[in-house]
Amino acid sequence: MGLRAPFGGEVLVRGTVLMWLSIIVLIPLGAVVFRSFDEGAGAFWEAISEPEAVAAIKLTVITSLVIVVINALMGTLIAWVLVRDEFPGKRIVNSIIDLPFALPTIVAGLTLLALYGNDSPIGVNVTYTKVAVGLALLFVTLPFVVRAVQPVLHELDEEMEEAAASLGASNFRIFRSIILPNLTPAIIAGCALAFARAIGEFGSLVLITGNIPFDTQVASVYIFGRIESDNTTAAAAVAVFLLVLSVVILFALNLFGRWRSRHERG
């Protein structure tokens, strides 16, 4: 099958695409990897095992895992309510799910600060604590699991559930034996995307967490600080750690998706 693009040539299109991708994405990301090993593997190891870097990475990974678990539970629950429940205003609720994708991250941080900050109208102040880190990450990752589970649940036949109920299965039994197994792949996919997003998050965290080293400073904030103090080797080392982690997740998800579509076809 030939490419019927304009300008008359596949090669020209390939060249343009590859050049654009290289100038914008590939060469710069390659430079980060290069910079981190620039002064040898020893320097890389030294930079990444520095106590402040280790603390930042630990906080980032642990908090991200915690919020992914919350997302799996609440995301599935919200998706269920949006698909199987009926109530006035459901359409509006459905459309605000995407708000975290549309709202700039720095504004997201400021909105959370307005409700959970120093002069909180409900008297809850989480600023400069680890709770603030989790809260901001929950905000920005909210849509991933909901939007992954929703279409699957939408296509899931309700008759199976009705049959199970008429045979005397309890609600919990129906959920565990029928709904959950069908949703698991979508929940995993949503969780992986949410995790990849959470470990790199920056904008929503800078205002509300206070960025205290060894306490509320996440990996991306650590990197930013090292760039500002002109220590690009240390910045690049932690950046490579994040880069490898998110690329591994992305490729694993791609493989998982392919395996799933082959599995379903066959």
Binding site: M1, R4, R84, D98, V107, E162, G200, L250, G257
Partner: protein, 286 residues
């Protein structure tokens, strides 16, 4: 619906709405309340100050350059992914998604290392008197990076679905490649392209981390709206921060509305509730 007992159903509805309310809805309302609690004059002055207007202009400039370029790239790239065949194509297909996976700060660092004065592209350019990092071109580059995959990811599934029967028919009837593209291909992918453009604009408008690294924060010069929000907040001008944030929040709500309209329009189904394909589904094998 008959399956679930009403008690459990109301309980779950309540839990879902409470969670969404506390995390999304109430904070968003709060930002409007906080901005306008002392009247409209102060926020209006902050937004129309020289600094505020310049930040607004700079943000629009970045979006205005990045999104059209990425749209052209996106359509070409989608055509290549769906219709072309060559070794290594599936690797390129995966690499397109990198900007979704990489932390904004890492993106900023990456551009800084290559296009900064010590970088191997930025160095020679600097000798010629062209400054990229800590200047407007750097902001544009960062914006292009973060909004790169959106159009591709929206157009690829549409192209796969329509197939190339019509295009083949057009060329059999004597249309050249250019005519086929404008008269057959483009009209059938237009909603996919539009949706991708909306998503890319949303991301481009609000980008903070990548832009923060390459901007150098020269107030009134390399400060976009999201950077202005943080700068005002750090300088204890909370009213100014809220005023700049409200402009971005209003733009975000407009984008959200157009996303919903487009989704219904492109699917032609009032009940269609599918979310953002681009983030909710891992890339499929092509």
């Amino acid at each position: 619906m008959s399956v679930v007992n009403p008690f459990a159903r109301y309980g779950m509805r309540f839990a879902a709405l409470l969670y969404l309310g506390l995390l999304l809805a109430i904070p968003l309302v709060m930002i409007f309340v906080k901005t306008f609690e002392d009247g409209f004059r102060e926020p209006l002055e902050a937004v129309t100050s020289e600094e505020g207007l310049h930040a607004f202009y700079l943000t629009l400039l970045c979006v205005g350059i990045a999104v059209p370029l990425n749209t052209i790239f996106g359509v070409l790239c989608a055509l290549m992914i769906v219709r072309d065949k060559f070794p290594g194509k599936s690797i390129i297909n995966s690499l397109i998604d990198l900007p979704f996976a990489v932390s904004p700060v890492v993106i900023g660092l990456a551009l800084f290392l290559v296009y900064g004065v010590d970088g191997f592209i930025g160095g020679p350019l600097d000798d010629m008197g062209i400054q990229i990092i800590f200047s407007t071109p750097g902001l544009v580059l960062a914006t292009i990076f973060v909004s790169l995959p959106f159009v591709v990811r929206e157009v690829v599934p549409v192209l796969q679905e329509i197939g190339d029967d019509q295009e083949q028919a057009a060329s059999t009837l004597g249309a050249n490649a250019w005519q086929t593209f404008w008269r057959v291909t483009l009209p059938s992918i237009r909603w996919g392209v539009t949706y991708g453009v909306v998503l890319a604009s949303a991301r481009a408008l609000g980008e903070f981390g990548a832009v923060a690294v390459v901007s150098g924060r020269i107030s009134g010069e390399t400060e976009t709206l999201p950077l202005l929000v943080q700068n005002e907040y750090d300088n204890f001008n909370v009213a100014g921060a809220y005023a700049a944030a409200i402009v971005l929040a209003i733009l975000a709500v407009l984008i959200l509305l157009s996303m919903n309209l487009l989704r219904r329009r492109s699917s032609g189904d009032e009940d269609e509730e599918l979310g953002l394909q681009v983030v909710a589904q891992p890339a499929k094998e092509v």
